[in-house]
């Protein structure tokens, strides 16, 4: 059993597929959710997948270096910044329109 399990020890590809799946899930959320907050949450999933991808590649291609870690750190910070502004917009919009359903937010449609 352990041998079998050991043979299936995850390599680079498994990790990358995990990242891609997570990213696609985030994308699905981004494309289908109607609540603005939920959209932001989906975006967080995608960002997280991206950060994970950095770390995975760092781990497998150049474990002595930390460039991937630094990039992941930046992604985290960016995500934080994004969520701050995003949430502020959502709250402001809510105050104005009394809803955060983005299917109503099409003022720019001609």
């Amino acid at each position: 059993m352990t041998e079998l399990l050991a043979r299936f020890a995850p390599g680079l590809q498994e990790w990358l597929v995990l990242c891609a799946v997570l990213y696609a899930i985030g994308l699905y959320g981004l494309l289908t959710r109607r609540n603005a907050i939920a959209l932001l949450m989906a975006a967080e999933i995608m960002l997280n997948a991206a950060a994970l991808n950095f770390v995975v590649l760092n781990r497998f291609t150049s474990p002595q270096l930390v460039d991937g870690h630094v990039m992941a750190l930046f992604v985290v910070v960016l995500a934080a910044a994004e969520i701050v502004v995003g949430m502020a917009i959502v709250v402001a919009l809510y105050r104005i329109r009394n809803t955060v359903d983005i299917s109503h937010m099409n003022y720019m449609k001609g």
Binding site: T32, I102, G110
Partner: protein, 663 residues
């Protein structure tokens, strides 16, 4: 150039330049400040120009005395426009007998008209504008006269056209004047289309044949250095004409020379109002009367005759072209004379008389050939005398109109007593145009008749002979109706003599109309070695005078008295009279063609086509886009998400497809 030594000869460009300078100065500086000063400056400039012209004539004929050979000189020229290497247009001054003749005519008549206008236009709203335009016209006409090449001719040709347009439409608040101006410009413009194509043909073939010609005649050594393919010196050169006439137009079966000349003649016919392009001239009488005297009687309308005379060797070389000139001229002279007998408006009668006389000049040019060129002299002679007596007639008519405030001869009458000076001068001019000895018209008309007969065209002679009688008839008709009898209209009762500023030019012109006939024109203007005949050919002069007297007598019979006889005569002619009075319905025909055919069947469909078909094509594609957009509107939600779905899916799909295709 060779022999051109006199000061005036060297500075001949001053003659057109003075009016041009005056045009700019009066138009921009003087006219806004003082109206009176505008008139005075303009008049002085033209008079200075006239003085220069006389000086030039004196110098020229001192250098080349009458009776001898008269070379064509180009004392001054300057490269103006270089189309391509070997094809340049020079602006210059050409001096030869006919240009000197025309310079004298134009500056003289123009000066007198300027003087006259100072009084005639007095108090008019557009006084300054009037003199500005008049100066522009004089400049353009002088530039046309001295043109050494066909392009300068064309340039000035258009400029006289536009000044004529501006002056006919001088009373721009008057719709009839506006439409007359428009008509004049467009009709002549149409004719100029022919001229332009002719010019293009001449430039092209001139340019093509130039190297051969240059080698053949040894241009560099024969005093023709610097000649350009558009210069008259080249275009009239026999060696060029010989080569040019060898070229044939495949589909017309004529020589290229004939085609070019007929096209050029089209321009000439437009400007000189030959049938069927004559329709603008009677309407042009809507302009101020001095303008009619200057432009539409004495100077601009003879530009066509002058152009044919200028290119005479070329016309004569192509016999077909000369034939066209002759036939059109003869027909126009008869046609216009017939119409002239029925018109009521004094200026229109004079306009038809101008047409008829222009036809005479053209006819005279058409009958002569290179071997027998008497008609050339006769035509120029008639041009010269006609300018004076016709200007005088118009100025006289202007004085009458000024006094009576109407154009209709039937509202005038009995003016002989009230306006004695006008009466006398008008009578002199009438006698002159009718061809009564010793007035100027007699001599020039005689020469034309002689040349027609001697040139071997008895039919044309017959026409000219009949026209001589008709001319006397209609001129005396208006003379009797206007000056004899008793006043019929309100204005005629209160008429009084014109001021001195007006009658002085008239008196001067009367003198000129009386004496210019005695100038031995053949001594001054002739073509080649052939000597024009001198003196009077009695065998022709006596019948011509007789027919003129006959016309005079008929007019006296019909129109002295209460005019009952005239009415019954008109009735007796029935429908024919009506047709003539309506000018053979030519105007209506034109109106039909332009409005019905061109506006309705060409311009409107094109406008419609553009709006609906071409534009429709564009709009249809827009419509397809919009409609498909509406059909696919579930994509057009305005929401980023929907777009995002399609974007991601699309990109992924395309990449997958490509991937599969590549692997």
């Amino acid at each position: 150039m060779d022999g051109a030594s006199g000061w005036m000869m060297q500075h001949a460009w001053l003659i057109p330049a003075l009016p041009l300078a005056s045009f700019a100065i009066v138009g921009l500086l003087v006219s806004p400040v003082s109206k009176r000063a505008a008139g005075i400056v303009a008049t002085l400039a033209i008079m200075a120009s006239a003085a220069c012209a006389y000086l030039l004539a004196w110098e020229y004929f001192t250098l080349y005395p009458p009776g001898g050979k008269h070379p064509i000189l180009v004392p001054w020229s300057y490269e103006w426009l270089r189309y391509q290497p070997g094809l340049s247009v020079n602006v210059g001054v050409l001096v030869d007998p006919i240009s000197v003749l025309l310079l004298i005519v134009v500056t003289t008549v123009s000066s007198l008209v300027h003087i006259y206008s100072n009084a005639y236009m007095h108090g008019d709203h557009g006084f300054g504008r009037y003199f500005t335009f008049l100066n522009l016209f004089t400049f353009s006409m002088l530039g046309l006269v001295v043109a050494p090449d066909i392009i300068q001719m064309y340039v000035c040709w258009e400029l006289v056209g536009v000044s004529s347009f501006l002056l006919i439409g001088f009373y721009y608040m008057k719709p009839s004047a506006v439409s007359a101006a428009k008509k004049a410009f467009i009709v002549t413009r149409f004719a100029d289309l022919g001229f332009l194509v002719g010019v293009i043909l001449l430039s092209y073939f001139g340019f093509r044949l130039f190297p051969e010609w240059s080698a053949e005649v040894g241009a560099a050594t024969n005093g023709l250095a610097g000649t350009q393919p558009v210069d008259f010196a080249y275009l009239n050169h026999p060696a060029f004409l010989a080569r040019f006439s060898e070229l044939h137009v495949a589909f017309l079966g004529t020589s290229m020379l004939t085609l070019a000349m007929i096209l050029v003649y089209m321009g000439a016919a437009g400007k000189s109002a030959m049938f069927p392009l004559h329709i603008w001239l009677p309407d042009a009488m809507e302009g101020p009367t001095p303008v009619s005297a200057l432009i539409h009687a004495a100077t601009m309308v003879v530009a066509g005759v002058y152009l044919v005379a200028r290119l005479f060797p070329a016309f004569a070389y192509s016999e077909t072209a000369a034939l066209v000139v002759m036939v059109v001229g003869a027909f126009t002279s008869l046609f216009a004379a017939i119409i002239g007998t029925t018109q009521d408006d004094i200026k229109r009668v004079l306009a038809f008389s101008t047409l008829s006389q222009l036809g005479y000049m053209m006819l005279a040019l058409g009958v002569c050939t290179t071997e027998y060129a008497a008609g050339y002299t006769a035509s120029m002679f008639h041009l010269f005398t006609h300018a004076f007596f016709k200007a005088l007639l118009f100025l006289g008519a202007g004085a009458v109109i000024h006094a009576v405030h109407t154009n209709s001869i039937w509202e005038m009458g009995g003016l002989a007593k009230k306006m004695p000076i006008t009466h006398i001068t008008f009578l002199i001019a009438t006698l002159a145009i009718s061809g009564i000895w010793p007035f100027a018209g007699f001599f020039s008309k005689d020469e034309i008749l002689v040349s027609a007969l001697a040139g071997g065209h008895p039919l044309v002679f017959g026409v000219a002979f009949v026209v001589a009688g008709l001319t006397a008839f209609y001129m005396f008709r208006i003379y009797f109706v206007t000056f004899w009898g008793h006043g019929r209209g309100e204005g005629a009762a209160h008429a009084h003599e014109a001021p001195a500023v007006m009658w002085l030019p008239m008196a001067l012109l009367a003198v000129l109309s009386s004496v210019t006939g005695f100038i031995p024109m053949g001594e001054f203007v002739s073509l080649g070695e052939h000597e024009a005949h001198h003196g009077i050919n009695l065998a022709i002069a006596i019948p011509a005078t007789a027919v003129a007297l006959l016309g005079m007598g008929t007019a006296a019979f019909l129109y002295i008295g209460d005019g009952r006889r005239a009415k019954s005569a008109a009735l007796a002619m029935g429908g024919a009279y009506h047709v003539i009075k309506q000018k053979f319905y030519i105007d209506e025909l034109y109106l039909f063609i332009t409005h019905r055919i061109i506006f309705h069947y060409i311009a409107r469909p094109i406008a419609w086509f553009d709006r609906h078909m071409v534009d429709g094509g564009v709009n249809a594609s827009g419509w397809v886009t919009r409609t498909s957009g509406r059909v696919l509107s579930f994509m057009q939600t305005g929401q980023v998400q929907t777009y995002g779905i399609w974007f991601t899916g699309g990109v992924a799909f395309v990449i997958l497809i490509l991937w599969c295709a590549l692997l």
